[in-house]
């Protein structure tokens, strides 16, 4: 059984159809990549999966459970975490508070000390900056904090939205290294990216979206450059 199963999803903003007939599945022990240019529907798809938007038709199952009617906090409780685009860390909260809020749900709260240790081991920089306000961190550190915060909820599946946006190549490399370590710890990883090259290199399976539809899917090793360009740009 797939970890995440999206079936025939249609989402509208008023009269505008943002997603049409999206079907995708994420298996266990996989890094799955969802690619697409600006306006392809990636963010809409994520918002729908995490419960912030409701689909008009179609269904989303997570770990066998139907989650599309649930609210965002219930979905987090089931073990699906999102590292949002633009980090969205709490700038008036300290680094420690930002992490603790990640383990807000009762299930995660019980093991929060253990989780905190894991996060600090993954990103020692966060431990150094524990008492600082979120707003004083650099872009890369904020991204680490956003990832750490998502890990605090003890997710089984973690979605990274534009993890490399606006960061230096060194930092991006560092973060992708962390993504691989997260996968090794047994979590399922979904990467939503514009950085095609790097995410195709990392992923076991990829979907390319364009204008709200899936244009290409499969193992990225089998993709030809021609196919990717066509699916991505619509050329």
């Amino acid at each position: 059984m797939a970890m995440l199963e999206v079936k025939n999803l249609n989402v509208y903003y008023g009269g505008f159809q943002a997603l049409s007939d999206i079907t995708l599945s994420v298996e266990r022990d996989q890094i799955v990549s969802i690619l697409g240019s600006n306006g392809a529907g990636k963010s809409t798809l994520l918002k729908t999966i995490s419960g912030l938007l409701k689909p008009s038709t179609g269904s989303i199952h997570f770990n066998g459970e139907k989650i599309d009617p649930l609210g965002p906090h219930d979905i987090v409780k089931l073990g699906l975490a999102l590292v949002p685009e633009g980090r969205k860390i709490f700038s008036t909260l300290t680094v420690l508070e930002n992490l603790l809020i990640g383990s807000y749900s009762p299930g995660a709260r019980r093991t929060k000390d253990e989780q905190l240790e894991n996060v600090f081991e993954l990103f020692p920089r966060l431990a150094e900056r524990k008492g600082q306000l979120g707003s004083t961190l650099s872009g890369g550190e904020q991204q680490m904090l956003a990832i750490g915060r998502a890990l605090m909820s003890q997710p089984r599946l973690i979605i990274f939205d534009e993890i490399s946006l606006g960061l230096s190549p060194v930092m991006v490399k560092h973060l992708y290294h962390a993504v691989n370590r997260i996968k090794q710890k047994g979590m399922v990883v979904v990467l939503v990216e514009q950085d095609v090259k790097r995410s195709l290199k990392t992923a076991d399976f990829a979907y390319i979206l364009q204008e709200g539809k899936i244009r290409l899917k499969g193992n990225p090793k089998d993709f030809t450059e021609e196919e990717v360009k066509k699916a991505y740009f619509g050329l």
Binding site: L82, K88, I89, T92, L93, T94, E97, I101, Y104, A150
Partner: protein, 312 residues
Amino acid sequence: MSSNRIRILLAALLLIALATLPFWATRYMVSILLLICLYMTLASMWNLLAGYSGLISLGQQMFIGIGGYSLAVLSMYHGLPIFLSVFLGGVISVLLAVLISLPIFRMKGVYFAIGTWIIAEALGICFSNWGYVRYGMGLFIQPAYRLSMSTIYYAALVLCIGSIALIYLLLRSNLGLALMAIRDDDRASEAIGVNIFRCKFTCFLLSAFITGMTAGVLYLNTIFIQPFEAFGIGWTVKLLFIVIIGGLGTVAGPIVGAAVFVVLQQYLSEYVGFNLIIFGTITISVIFFTPKGIVGTFQEKLGFEIFPIRRR
């Protein structure tokens, strides 16, 4: 001595002074501190909503009225013990809060403010047309005649210290963390698993409960309750003044604000009519020049918090 031990020592001295006050202070001083305690509690509850939960209520007077009338009706008409009536006033306030939460929580920001105000006004009109509570003429709460000033003072002191301790613990709990996150970015906190409605609802009920009980003690002191005064917007205006000059969203703000307000009120009561102009001028000046209030400004300048609630 570490700053923590100095803090504990000062707090202990203050507590002893407050606890023994009726034995060494004048009756006038006790009555002033009684008022400060009551306003502190009411203002802390308004601050919990406006300063921490983002709920600007202009209708706290609905719980003041309900608390006061519950005390009057239960203790006089039904012969219940006075302090049980005060407690039940809090319970009935919670019931009212639950009842109105369905429509009121669909409103946001300024609509929530107006909505709460309208409900309080409507309740005032209902009570002034209700023969059971003698219409607009009001009620004298006769059982309260027997109570001494120091008994009422102790009740107010217990409520005040209890509610400040409760707020402090609440803000240091997970709920407090969630409230801070919601204040920072509500969409992001929702996406991370915070149930925004439940957090705000909890604070709303707590605020109703303690405001209702405090109103009971307040009317033990005033003795006379009348609908347009009890359900009047004047209460929330006072609380707003206290919290703004003290410091919105700080635990110590309402404490300092209430002390300043009650003392000012005593001195300004000679100048009827002018006092409101002076209160208004002070509030506007504070909003313009030190928007964080007395406590907020001091915390920023000195980096010292009386009630530290942050995790570092």
